[in-house]
Symmetry: C2
Subunit: 371 residues, 2 copies
C-alpha cells in the first residue's frame, strides 16, 4: 500500500501526519525534513520500547541523530508529575538543548506526557509523535493537547503544543490487545457521529475488516479521522469553540474513568458508554431518533465495546458519576456541559443537561452486579 | 504622587502595568477591569503573605472575588516541581475552574512558580502579578517568562505566559533587606547599559535617593525599566532574537548562582558580577572603553553590589564557572553565548566567547579568601 499523508494547517506550527503500514523505519528520513541533526530522546513505555525501540533508534541514528531512550512504566498511573520530574532529570543528564527534540513512542500516556515535557523543557523544544495505539493515532496525534494527571483529576495540568511531525504505522497496532483496539474504535466511531454520516456508514460496512487488522482499511480509517480532527482543530486550536464537539461522550467518560479509578475501563471504552448516554440525552433534548441510538449501540457492540458499566451499588455509582461530572474541567460554575447530537453527523456543544435528566437517564447504563 | 502606567502591547495578550505608592488596596478594582467575578487563589510566601496577604485579600473580596491564599516557604529552593505539585493540589481543592485566576504576591520565585502554574493548570488560566521586590518589579513583571528549577539547573522547565495585569507598589519595597534592594538595582542598572545611556546617567545622579526609598524616584525607575523591557519583549515575545540582550550579564550570573548553590548570592548580585565580566570581555572583543567599565563598577559599588565573588580555591572555582556556562540553556552545541557591550546603551547578543579569553578574564573577579 502507499503511504498516505495529511497536513495539519496551523500557520508556522503546521505539520504532516504520515500514515501507512511498516513505515516506522522511515522515521529518521522523515525527521530530517523538519529537524536539524541533533541529539534526541525517545520516550516509550515498558510495552513499546521493547517492541519498537530498537527499530526506531536505528532509523534515527542512521539519519544522523544522536539517540537515547527513556522508559516509563506502562499505564495511566505513570502519567503524573513524578514521572515528568524523572523525565526532565534524564533530559538534563542527556544534555538536551533548545534545538534537541523528543520522540514519543507509545499510546496516549506516552504522547501526552512527552508532549507536555517538550512544551515546557527549556520553555519548549520540538517533538515528534509515533502513536502506537489506535486511540492515539486517531486522537492524540492531532490537536496539540498535552497533559499529565493530578491526584484530583485527569489531564488537569498541560499545554497546547504541536508536534513537528506524526508517523502513524498501522502495523504497530498488530501487537495490541483486543481491548485496546476496541477502545480506539470508540473514538473512530465518534468522528462519524459528530462530523461525517458517510464515514459512519463506511464503518458499519468495514468494521469487521478493521477489527481483523486489514492494513488498507485501517490506514484509511486513521487517515479519515486525522483529517476530520485536523479540520476541526485548525479552526479552533485552543478550544474556545467548535473544537468542543470532539468531546462528544467525554463529559461522562471522564467521570467513569475517575469513578473506576482509571483502571477497569480504557479511555475509549469509557467514551463508548459516554457517547451512548449522550445519544439517549439527545433523544430527550434534541429529538435525536431512538432508532439511531440503536444503530449506534449496534456498532459499539460490533466493535466489542461496552454499552454500560457494572456496579455493586447502582445508586451510589450514579451519585459518584454525577458528582464527578461537576468536577470536570470544562464545567463552568458547577454546571456540566455536554455535547449532544441532532442526528448522526451533526452535534451541538455546550449543552447544559439538567441534573434530574442525567439522574433519570443513567440507570439504564449502570448495571447491577452481585458481590 | 500619581499612579503611573505602562501598556505591554502583545495583541490579544496585551496588559497594563500599574506603578505607584500605596496602591495595593486598588488591586480588586483593577482586576475588575479585566477579570470576571470568580474565585481566585493568592500565592505568596512566608515573607509576603504575613505582610501583605490580608490587605490583598480584603481588596479582592471587596471587589466581589472569592479568595483563598496559599503559602510557599520563602526562598529559591521552593521553586521546584514539588512545590508546583502541592500548589496544583490546592487549586483542585479550591475548585478553581478555567476562568478562575491566580494572584502572585511575591518576588521572582513566587511570580515564576505561580505564572507557570497558571500557564499549565487546565492548560492555562489567567493570572495577576503583584511583584514585591525591586528585582521582580523591573524584571519578571514584563516578558512573560515563567519557570521552575530542576536539580540540574535553574529555570529549566517553564512557559512563555502573560499576566492579565501587573501592579507594582513601590511602598511594598520598604520592608526589603538592603541586599534584596541592591540585587534589584543590578537589573535597573542593566537597562541603562543595554538600552538607554540617558537613563544610566539619571541613575548615577539619583542612586542615593533610590536607595533611600524615595517613592517618586523609585516609581520613575521602575516605570522606565518596565517600559524599556516591554519595548524589547513586545518585538520578540518568545526570545528568538533581540530579546536576548536582556541577558546581559546573565550567562555568567547563572553559572555563579549554580556554583554557589543559589544561596550566597541573590540573582541580582550574581548579575552585577556577570555584567562587570561582560564589560571586561567587551573591552577585548568590541573595544568597549576601559573607562566605561570603571564608571559601571562605580555605580555597582554605589548600589552596594559585589564586583567579584570570593573563593577558597580560585582555580577550581573558575573551572566550575566555565563548566556551568556550558550547561546554560542558551548554549548551542556546547558553545556558550554572551551579550556584550559596544558602549553604554548599546549591546550585541549571541557573541561566542573563546574559552581561553574567559579563563584569562575571570581571575580578576574571583577573589582568594582564607579558610
Amino acid at each position: 500500500m502507499n503511504t498516505k499523508k495529511t497536513r495539519v494547517h496551523l500557520g508556522d506550527r503546521s505539520y504532516t501526519i504520515w500514515i501507512g503500514s511498516k513505515i516506522l523505519p522511515l522515521i529518521g528520513e522523515l525527521c530530517k525534513e523538519v529537524l536539524p541533526p541533533q541529539n534526541c530522546v525517545i520516550v516509550g513505555d515498558s510495552n513499546t520500547l521493547p517492541l519498537f525501540g530498537k527499530e526506531c533508534e536505528a532509523s534515527l541514528a542512521q539519519a544522523g541523530y544522536q539517540v537515547r531512550s527513556w522508559q516509563l512504566p506502562a499505564g495511566e498511573s505513570s502519567k503524573n508529575l513524578n514521572s515528568l520530574g524523572r523525565l526532565f532529570d534524564f533530559l538534563v543528564e542527556s544534555k538536551l538543548e533548545r534545538i534537541s527534540f523528543l520522540v514519543a513512542l507509545g499510546g496516549g500516556v506516552v504522547g501526552d506526557l512527552t508532549g507536555f515535557a517538550a512544551a515546557t523543557y527549556m520553555r519548549g523544544i520540538p517533538f515528534v509523535q509515533i502513536p502506537t495505539t489506535l486511540l492515539s493515532q486517531v486522537d492524540s496525534s492531532v490537536g496539540g493537547k498535552t497533559a499529565v494527571n493530578l491526584p484530583g483529576g485527569k489531564n488537569l495540568v498541560g499545554a497546547f503544543y504541536q508536534p513537528k511531525l506524526v508517523l502513524c504505522d498501522v502495523n504497530l497496532l498488530s501487537s495490541l490487545p483486543q481491548k485496546e483496539l476496541s477502545g480506539g474504535l470508540s473514538e473512530v466511531i465518534k468522528y462519524g457521529v459528530i462530523l461525517d454520516t458517510e464515514f459512519f456508514g463506511w464503518l458499519e460496512d468495514h468494521l469487521q475488516g478493521i477489527l481483523n487488522l486489514d492494513a488498507e482499511l485501517m490506514a484509511e480509517a486513521v487517515r479519515r479521522c486525522c483529517e476530520l480532527k485536523a479540520a476541526v482543530t485548525s479552526d479552533d486550536e485552543r478550544e474556545s469553540g467548535r473544537r468542543a464537539i470532539l468531546n462528544f461522550g467525554h463529559t461522562l467518560a471522564h467521570a467513569i474513568e475517575q469513578v473506576y479509578h482509571y483502571g477497569t475501563y480504557s479511555h475509549g471504552e469509557a467514551v463508548a458508554v459516554g457517547q451512548l448516554v449522550a445519544c439517549r440525552l439527545s433523544e430527550t433534548l434534541l429529538g435525536f431518533p431512538r432508532t439511531e441510538t440503536e444503530r449506534f449501540a449496534n456498532l459499539l457492540k460490533k466493535a466489542k465495546l461496552p454499552v454500560a458499566v457494572p456496579a455493586e451499588d447502582v445508586q451510589a455509582t450514579i451519585d459518584q458519576l454525577i458528582s464527578a461530572t461537576q468536577r470536570d474541567k470544562k464545567t463552568l460554575e458547577g454546571d456540566p456541559k455536554f455535547v449532544l447530537a441532532e442526528k448522526i453527523g451533526k452535534v451541538v456543544f455546550g449543552y447544559s443537561v439538567p441534573q434530574k435528566l442525567l439522574r433519570d437517564t443513567l440507570p439504564e447504563f449502570v448495571r447491577k452486579i452481585e458481590k
